[in-house]
Symmetry: C2
Subunit: 379 residues, 2 copies
Amino acid sequence: MTLQIKLESRTIDKVERMRKVYNFSAGPAMLPEEVLLQAQAEMLDWHETGMSIMELGHRGPEFKRVAEKAEADLRELMSIPKNYQVLFLAGGATTQFSMVPLNLFDGKRSADYVDTGIWSKKAIAEASRYGRVNVVAQTQHQDRLDYIPAQDQWTMNEDAVYLHYTPNETIGGIEFQWIPQTGNVPLVADMTSMILSRPVNVNDYGIIYAGAQKNIGQAGITVVIIREDLIKEPLPKTPALYSYKLHAEHNSFYNTPPTYSWYISGLVLAWMKHKGGVQAFYQQNLRKAKTLYSLIDQYKDFYISRVHPDCRSLMNVMFHLCNETLTPHFLEEAEKIGLTNLRGHRVSGGVRASIYNAMPEDGVNMLADFMMDFARRKG
Amino acid sequence: MTLQIKLESRTIDKVERMRKVYNFSAGPAMLPEEVLLQAQAEMLDWHETGMSIMELGHRGPEFKRVAEKAEADLRELMSIPKNYQVLFLAGGATTQFSMVPLNLFDGKRSADYVDTGIWSKKAIAEASRYGRVNVVAQTQHQDRLDYIPAQDQWTMNEDAVYLHYTPNETIGGIEFQWIPQTGNVPLVADMTSMILSRPVNVNDYGIIYAGAQKNIGQAGITVVIIREDLIKEPLPKTPALYSYKLHAEHNSFYNTPPTYSWYISGLVLAWMKHKGGVQAFYQQNLRKAKTLYSLIDQYKDFYISRVHPDCRSLMNVMFHLCNETLTPHFLEEAEKIGLTNLRGHRVSGGVRASIYNAMPEDGVNMLADFMMDFARRKG
């Protein structure tokens, strides 16, 4: 991708000032500056068509190009094998909480679910409406730390129609550092908050799905990577648009897709390729997470992580101040210097730094400096 | 709304050149130039937050403002009474083909549907999967013209749970010029292709829904205006996100909504208010449609409309060349002078000029001039 920035220097200056705001929102989240600049430059004239990409019919040759390029880039970035279809569907991951059971349940067998937090629980609640669900493992708590039990402690069912898990939980900040082994049982993963943050072997999965608003683009579109043998007739009375089969048969063009969201996803995927691909981001993400977790551990009388070091999230660094009365001051001071949206989820409280692919290392370093300074002043 | 255009003059010059392309696409469709300019200007810094609106969390105060303003403007533009809820939902109108029956069927009574074209038929096919559907009227054909039968010829059911119709059919270019009278039976309308193009009395309807990509904004979001007494538990096993009740209880914030699409809708709605509201657009739309239909009638040996004058669409002017072998030349020549996407739908063939609110009168006049010139040269 050639990032041709066509804007005037005044605008660029402004951008440089602006990006001194580092947005740690859990999602919708920060996007790469280059992507926003390109979207801005092309807003009224996409590739000399005289039109915005959002004005172009989804069945025209222009949007087809955008759609196909986005899929090709995602396939390349994740090395997606040919026997997997890639769908770009309207809505977020919550849509998939219904679609997975509606499309995989067969009216006989049950499904296995792993419960590691709030997003797992939502997926479980929805699946339970369509068939029998077994919760085969749950986050455990020991020595004040949350951890994911090793797989030999799970109560898996060999004849499960699938096993569903959430590799990363944004609210608790807990992440699998390993891939469950499920034998012939298809593994289904809600990768919304960690897709493209680290290498995965797609062959290990039956279905991977991810809402775009963290590592792929803007809210309103979800990527589904599905092994072809899992595409079949859904349960009776499944709404038309909840059928993977229908979408697969129409290459996600059965009805009007969210074209602009798809386009933004394409810009992000091209940017990732340009920047070295998943491996490069993984290395950067390891450095970013290490910077913050090391500081938390170093100032352990002031900051506390409640997640076991073996399953700390690369993407959502969740911590508390030991003296919780200082949390509002921490958030207020951070906000003032341009470190925004650090408040933890209302369920968990505390502080959450979401550091997806688009968060520059500078932003993380600035946060670490602030945390150190704050701890020294208030500790 | 103040449209503060912050871009450099070079960019603006370019815009003026660009808008010499008039895009007659049926949807996604042309957007107002002012809206695109504002979205462009705000792309990297929405209201001095230092962030794009697409990077901001949906539960933060910034996006809440955007969401509430869009709803307030829509309520004002359409004079929506207080006993109606306004929902902004992910997906397009096809989603509503399932949601309407899933939420209104009661397991006992049947629903009435009016079939005036391809979109009606799709709605009927989907509703038939959830309950008994009676097609109470269909487009008729007489003297080579399609027309909608008068209501005294319909076979309505007094105890129907609702009556569904499609006020405007984009593919056939056929539009109701009157509102069905259904007594106590709630009237449900798919207004995707005509919402905000003419005044409607919301009180006449139980539910109005409209995909955004024609008169409201970009693809990926749908507006639902629903009378509160119709909000109830959906049929069992309805997917969570297909429940109006759930969305109404959470003000469309149950899960992450398509925030950027919502924002663009807000810009379009504010632009409409700024330009005089629905009545002003209605007058302009009447003039635009009259310009084209008059020309078709004037050159009746060359162009033919197959829709009865009583139900010609204001938004989608559908016609054929009497000598169909000339159609490819017509489309090619039009394209060359910047009149794009005039090809009729593959089902209907011919020519279709979609002239939604954002299509300037200049664009329609330019098309009329071209049509006249082409007829004189080739006729």
